[in-house]
């Protein structure tokens, strides 16, 4: 894990990406109890601005990784130092999430992790069953700044989705 983060920091230092942050399940796990997951999702702000309908390519990243000897793929994951990694280009909400991610250290290596408030918003956007479980875990176990969460949900038009999700969850809890 430490080695993967060093590779990510290299990508940033070399200007191949603007910024990155750990997202998805591993970012959730930073704020909650540990749970099973398969991969490491990394949200990446590409170096080039991308227009709305333009196709986003991460060729520069993959070329650099290939040059470093990381060319093994398993499904959607590229294997870096024995860890399956998925790069997710960050735009809009995700870009904001990366910009507002918190700096943390992992075994002495500096990295960034998406905050609980932004994680809830990104999970709400995808809304798969496993995402909803992560939202529940974050709301129950992490210190969520409700004011900040409301601000993010309002900005990205997710307030209604959140209220519907919360109502359904509370109803299920009462059963």
């Amino acid at each position: 894990m430490k080695n993967v983060l060093e590779v990510m920091n290299n990508l940033k230092e070399k200007g191949l990406i603007k910024d990155y942050a750990i997202g998805g399940a591993i970012a959730t796990l930073k704020w909650t109890e540990p749970f099973f997951t398969r991969d490491l999702e990394i949200f990446v702000i590409p170096k080039k601005e991308v227009a709305e309908n333009e196709i986003l390519v991460l060729t520069d990243i993959y070329d650099y990784l290939k040059f470093r000897g990381y060319d093994k793929w398993v499904g959607q994951w590229i294997i870096i130092e024995g860890i399956p990694v998925e790069f997710i280009p960050a735009q809009g909400l995700e870009e904001d999430a990366v910009k507002n991610a918190v700096e943390v250290e992992y075994e002495g290596v500096k990295t960034k992790v998406i905050t609980p408030e932004y994680l809830i918003a990104t999970f709400l956007k995808t809304s798969r069953e496993k995402d909803k479980i992560k939202i529940q875990m974050l709301l129950e176990q992490a210190e969520v700044d409700i004011g900040k969460l409301e601000e993010i949900l309002t900005k990205y038009g997710l307030i209604k989705e959140f209220r519907d999700f919360y109502e359904r969850w509370m109803k299920e809890k009462k059963k």
Partner: protein, 67 residues
Amino acid sequence: MDERKKEVKIKREDGKVVTLEELFEGKKKARKELAKLPFEEKIKILVELQKIAYSWGNKKDVIIWKI
């Protein structure tokens, strides 16, 4: 019958008798405590969970992280 009278009680290992509600409340508290573990510790636990999924859960497609 009064709902409270029907309430299931469990005798824990330490001899303490608790209601199901208290048991779940205790688990909730324990989860919050686990949430406070250092990031590195949590990743170690994750790798153990991946090993369990691979062997006991027979999920042979799970890649056990090298940390």
